[in-house]
């Protein structure tokens, strides 16, 4: 499987880009130890104008490069934890509904239908507006709306696996439901879940950037979305302030999508041909 | 003069040559049976005649029909012949019809394409055709979708579609394999009647020698993409010459009771066709019960054995 993944040039490119962004996020406090929200230079320096600010400065004289590096931390942090939360909810609800069936499944299905009816981004806005906008609350809100697809996927996998011979055999051996779910079925259901989770991180990053673009981000942390929001005010004079952080979002999301496509082809040899 | 003359037809894929130097001819109004196991290249032969071999297959040789070589025709010209002069029906009636279009529209499509009928005229003709293939209440069924019909009815619809433009050759690729035994005879009977009434030649592809005896005028037995025997059906069933034909006869369940030759293993011919790939000598040698040493090195040529009888086996007598 890993060999198949590594043969896919696009997937390797995605993985490389992702690694670069992760490295940037980890190294941000070392490279730019000061608060990226501090004013450090002349305002409105264009990229390349002053070598000490390779990506220029914004309307308040803040270093764009520092903002980009620290913004990567916020994007990845929220993307990752919201996905973990979404996966935890989706996989457990989907596993229970799919494995046990019956009324438990009905309840699970009703819940997922409700969440798929409410437009997810609007619900995130409402939740973040009700709670105060902080990294934790934004993560919670995004995680809370991102579980339905995983739930449906997990449920479908469990429904198909619960009738398989090895599961019947495990039941015959007297294994409990918990053991069968976690040790017998889950490992088999994992591949499509892994593929989806990388798309979930991408979606979460897009949502976070839209939130902080609208001004619903954590006011104490710089994020790519809030940089775009600030840049927008001076769009006519200094469009690079909008272009640069946006390009970063595109690169991060594209990298995750490439990795997801690569995983999909490596884990689903049947689809890989086309 | 043959209606359709196939000469040295070869269908090659990167990893395998599916049809190798196949020659046969079909005469006006006759039924020619192409017989062989699955994988013997008979379906690809049919697709090659239609110009529908899927990528990356390459077709060479010649197919003479109406004074032209079909394989040399430009695609646009071939499209005009396809469905009008040469038509084809397939093995799987369940999936061969478009699920979202009414059967009437699918039949009418052919008529509008090749005969330029108006929508209205094509619909009326479609109803006539449904009647012709003995579908009850054709005026109502013309607006049905395929999933409402039984397998036998779907195959009748396929036949109606294929004969819509009075083709001169109809290729039927395992037309009854997917159907109930009781329906099989009805469908073959229908095909035979249409062949006579419309004066078209029928190329009947099958793995079932029982079908051959009852419906074919001539039989070509294929193995690993080659013709190993050609005969009239009575002669073949009475006295199959090629060891593979003998094996097929033995493996044909409905004929066992009246088979003259009984092989050691009745149920099947041992081995599989895969063993013939890339082999220098006779492709059947690895499974043959009368194999000689020379069979491994020299591919046997077709020999004439009596009137209109050909066999590709040096041992056969």
């Amino acid at each position: 499987m890993s060999a198949a993944f590594l043969r896919n040039k696009a997937a390797v490119l995605g993985l490389g880009l992702l690694a670069a962004i992760v490295a940037m996020a980890i190294l941000a406090p070392v490279l730019y130890p000061d608060d990226p929200l501090d004013m450090v230079g002349t305002p409105f320096l264009w990229p390349g104008q002053d070598p000490s600010f390779p990506l220029g400065t914004d309307s308040l004289g803040r270093d764009v490069a520092a903002g980009i590096a620290h913004g990567a931390r916020v994007s990845l942090l929220i993307g990752l934890w919201a996905t973990v939360l979404g996966l935890a909810l989706g996989v457990s609800i989907g596993a229970i509904g799919g494995y046990f069936g019956g009324w438990l499944d009905d309840v699970a299905l009703r819940a997922v239908e409700l969440f798929q009816t409410v437009p997810p981004f609007l619900l995130v806005i409402v939740l973040v507006a009700i709670w105060e906008p902080s990294i934790r609350n934004i993560t919670l809100a995004i995680g809370l709306v991102s579980w339905p697809p995983v739930m449906r996927l997990t449920r479908a996998e469990f429904r198909s696996f619960r009738e398989k011979d090895f599961v019947t055999a495990a039941r015959g051996l007297g294994f409990g439901h918990g053991r069968i779910i976690l040790r017998e079925i889950l490992p088999n259901a994992l591949p499509p879940i892994v593929v989806t989770s990388s798309v979930m991180v991408a979606t979460a990053i897009l949502m976070e950037s839209a939130l902080s673009f609208l001004g619903l981000g954590d006011a104490n942390r710089v994020s790519w979305g809030s940089m775009i929001g600030n840049g927008r005010e001076v769009l006519r004079a200094a469009w690079f302030l909008t272009a640069v952080p946006g390009a970063m979002i595109v690169v991060a999301v594209l990298a995750l999508n490439l990795v997801s496509d690569g995983l999909n082809e490596a884990l689903n040899p049947r689809l890989g041909r086309s | 003069m043959a209606l359709l003359d196939v000469h040295d037809l070869t269908v090659a894929f990167p990893s395998v040559t599916a049809v190798a130097g196949l020659s046969f001819s079909v005469h006006e109004s006759e039924t020619l049976a192409l017989v062989g196991e699955s994988g013997s290249g008979k379906s690809l032969t049919a697709l090659a005649l239609m110009g529908l071999v899927p990528r990356p297959g390459r077709v060479s040789g010649a197919v003479h029909f109406g004074g032209q070589d079909l394989l040399a025709l430009p695609e646009a010209r071939m499209r005009q012949l396809r469905g009008r002069d040469i038509a084809m029906i397939f093995q799987e009636p369940m999936t061969s019809l478009n699920p979202v279009l009414t059967i009437g529209r699918q039949i009418a499509e052919t008529l509008r394409l090749h005969e330029g009928l108006s929508a209205r005229a094509a619909r009326l003709r479609a109803i006539e055709l449904l009647d012709l293939v003995r579908i009850a209440d054709p005026g109502r069924q013309v607006d049905s979708h395929a999933h409402r019909l039984s397998g036998g009815m779907r195959q009748r619809v396929m036949i109606a579609m294929a004969i819509a433009c009075n083709p001169r050759v109809l290729i039927a690729d395992e037309p009854t394999t997917a159907l109930d035994v009781t329906i099989q005879a009805q469908v073959l009977d229908l095909l035979d009647r249409l062949r006579r009434d419309l004066g078209m030649a029928l190329i009947l592809i099958t793995h079932d020698l029982g079908v051959v005896g009852q419906w074919a005028d001539r039989v070509v037995v294929m193995y690993a993409g080659r013709k190993v025997e050609e005969a009239d059906p009575i002669g073949l069933l009475r006295r199959p010459l090629h060891p593979y034909s003998r094996g097929l006869l033995g493996a044909s369940p409905r004929l066992q009771a009246r088979a003259h030759y009984r092989l050691g293993r009745l149920a099947e011919i041992p081995g599989s066709m895969a063993s013939a790939l890339g082999q220098a000598g006779c492709p059947f040698a690895p499974r043959c019960d009368v194999r000689q040493d020379k069979c491994d090195s020299v591919a046997p040529a077709l020999r004439e054995m009596g009137e209109a009888r050909l066999v590709a086996c040096p041992v056969a007598a």
Partner: protein, 329 residues
């Protein structure tokens, strides 16, 4: 069964199925309303200028806000039964009329974007499937993967830079030019000009999705036996692709279009904010900035209803596209 009967039967069934969904959304909305910090009394008291604990309590009891949870639920449902979603303290008009004023703008933008996405996406997907594995397919693949990764609001801003600031071809925001007649062809053309950039920004992501979906669905459909039958009739490749393959591939693609209405509504919040488009999304943004939860939750409620309607619409469309549907329900 006739197409008409099939479609009406599906319509009836989907309408019945929508009932529990609507109830569930009501419950969720009520719950969120209870969670929201500060109620209408707080806001109204604040508007009087000098709020005291006394006035707040008086207001609470006047509007029944100090009643037990169940009574408040009953009042909420009673309001809804009279098509009332409460008042907006900020604008001092009923939430419903506020939303009703903005709904057409959003619907126009969303439907245009969805239309563009479906037409362009399906066309691109069909081209990709036709040239699968060849350079054209690869090129469109790469472009669509990029479009799939671009935030709508950002591409909107970039389009403004190029087409409004640099080239000065298109307006950068709003719905009408100042001083243009309210009606007539000129007004319509003017609105269309204003719609180009927001609709393009909103649809880009979905164009990419439909292109990918259509490609996959067509590649699957063209391997099916019925496609071979169509070729055996002598149909040209384009007739096979459009009449037989695409017609079947549309079924999975349209299913997704229903699912995407919710995402389109979410996307319209940011895109309408970027382009100052007077629609629901912009209203959501404004009420969020003002912490006007009555309006915000009203929008959430109506958006959910819109999603339910869209899904029902897709079900009905399906029963029309796919004659096999009748056997399911």
């Amino acid at each position: 069964m006739s197409t008409w009967r099939r479609v009406t039967r599906t319509a009836r069934r989907t309408a019945l199925q929508a009932v529990p969904s609507v109830l569930a959304i009501l419950a969720l909305n009520f719950l969120l309303l209870q969670l929201a910090p500060g109620d209408a009394a707080d806001v109204m008291a604040a508007q009087t200028g000098s709020p005291t604990a006394q006035t707040v309590l008086e207001l609470r009891s006047r509007f029944g806000l100090d009643a037990p949870l169940l009574d408040r639920l009953a009042a909420y449902l009673d309001n809804l039964a009279h098509f009332s979603l409460g008042m907006s303290p900020r604008f001092n008009v009923s939430v419903l009329s506020l939303i009703g004023e903005r709904l057409p703008g959003t619907l126009a933008l969303m439907l245009t974007a969805l239309g563009i996405a479906l037409v362009v996406g399906i066309a691109l997907g069909a081209v990709m499937a036709r040239f699968a594995g060849r350079p054209l397919d690869r090129a469109i693949s790469v472009i669509s993967l990029c479009c799939y990764s671009i935030p709508g609001f950002w591409i909107g801003l970039m389009l403004v830079v190029v087409f409004s600031v640099k080239l000065d071809w298109l307006p950068s925001g709003g719905m009408h030019s100042v001083g243009i007649e309210e009606s007539g062809l000129a007004a319509l053309l003017d609105m269309a000009r204003h719609m180009v950039l927001p609709a393009a920004s909103l649809s880009l992501f979905f164009v990419a999705i439909y292109a990918r979906l259509t490609r996959a669905a067509m590649l699957e459909a063209q391997e099916q036996d019925f496609a071979r039958t169509a070729r055996a009739k002598g149909l040209s490749p384009s007739a096979v692709a459009i009449r037989h393959v695409l017609r079947n591939a549309l079924i999975p693609v349209t299913t997704m279009a229903g699912v995407h209405v919710g995402a389109l509504l979410g996307g319209s919040v940011v895109v309408e904010t970027v382009f100052s488009w007077p629609g629901l999304g912009r209203l959501a943004f404004e009420s969020m900035m003002n912490r006007d939860f009555n309006v915000l939750l009203g929008i959430l409620f109506l958006s959910s209803l819109l999603v339910i309607v869209a899904n029902a619409g897709v079900d009905i469309l399906h029963s029309w596209l796919d004659p096999r549907i009748e056997d399911v329900g």
